[in-house]
Symmetry: C2
Subunit: 225 residues, 2 copies
């Protein structure tokens, strides 16, 4: 109701192609956003109700079914969107490489700032990675494995990491991903205005990554296993 009025007020008739589709995508996004907003704070995805999401999106419950077959499908869409966000970041990082000085510390900084900027998406990933319905959870695990493999590939060329074979490189990348997710969880739980606390977490994560890379420089994979 409110959504229709404002929509028709904001977009008089200047729509070259698909006024209808655009409208549909708008409420689809409203539903996804509503879920993310409700997920912020206490709630977990599996405790959200379809009606609740519809209400926050400003839509009647039955309208939900025009977009998703149920909450599970909406959850899968959130997984897609969230990892799209993450992959965008990775792509950006590759296309505009950081200077090698303090590479680790700078990468951590970049990542955590990105996580703060896309708070809701990262919160969703962090929560549902471990507690969601199995379809959502497995989808997230799969994406995280993929991310780990990408990271391993990016890491491979570094001269200090010549001691690694492929398996062990992924092992190390997994450790890095774990540490970053842990720091992300701390960030998401911290008071958003407590700059000192945020800085403390950033430094903690930076040191942890430095420690990992310090160990990595010494690592020797067993040649034949």
């Amino acid at each position: 109701m409110r959504l229709k009025r404002t929509a028709s007020a904001e977009t008089p008739e200047s729509a070259p192609a698909g006024v209808r589709d655009e409208r549909k995508q708008r409420t689809r996004k409203a539903l996804l956003d509503a879920a993310l907003i409700l997920l912020d704070g206490e709630r977990s995805f599996s405790s959200l109700s379809l009606r609740e999401v519809a209400k926050v999106a400003g839509v009647v419950p039955a309208a939900f079914y025009r977009h998703f077959t149920g909450m599970d499908e909406l959850g899968m869409s959130l997984v897609d969107d969230s990892f799209h966000t993450l992959h965008q970041m990775m792509r950006g990082a590759r296309s505009a490489p950081l200077p090698p000085a303090n590479l680790v510390a700078r990468s951590v900084e970049t990542f955590l700032l990105y996580a703060q900027a896309h708070r809701l998406h990262f919160q969703f990933i962090a929560k549902e990675r471990v507690s969601g319905s199995s379809s959502v959870r497995l989808a997230i695990r799969k994406e995280l494995r993929l991310w780990t493999s990408e990271l391993a590939t990016d890491l491979a060329p570094f001269p200090k990491l010549k001691g690694f074979n492929g398996d062990d490189l992924r092992m190390m990348a997994g450790l890095v991903v774990n540490a970053m997710m842990g720091a992300t969880e701390l960030i998401l739980d911290a008071d958003i205005n407590d700059a000192a606390e945020l800085a403390r977490i950033h430094q903690l994560a930076q040191k942890q990554l430095m420690l990992i890379f310090l160990g990595a420089a010494q690592w020797k994979s067993k040649p034949a296993q």
Copy 2:
């Protein structure tokens, strides 16, 4: 009903003190166990209903209130029980120290086997650490911080870790705890009968810990910060 009959059958009259209290503790435990059982698999704690828990415990919903004011209080009790389990393990490890050969690998093995043996408790911790109600979540975080500090204290005497000041030691302990929780999550999600998969995860975690300790041996904390 069924619970009462079996109870009176199993304990004829040989109860020195508190037949009544013992009965009460029994159904209290039944409620806690019911929640853990329901939590196994798909569900998250915040999606459990009081009625559901009561039904699995074999008790009418109203009886729930004789033991807990609501699901949140039951959750807090689960936190206590779960960490009691964990502290028991730590105490056992300290009182019967492992031989120094392969110390890291053996410790990982011990921990993960313990996690498998107390599957439901560790699953609860892993899930609600990130997605639970804020009281439960904060309680778990507090316990994990405590655990991290204990671990740091246990680690301090090692000669190879002389390069650490107190803060950095906790930083490293946090990394260890993170890695172990990550491995625990993998274990809990794996098929319980897939021995090869479990062994793979054990080896992964062992390598990750070795990598951390390799880095730690090289670490030099800044003397004054």
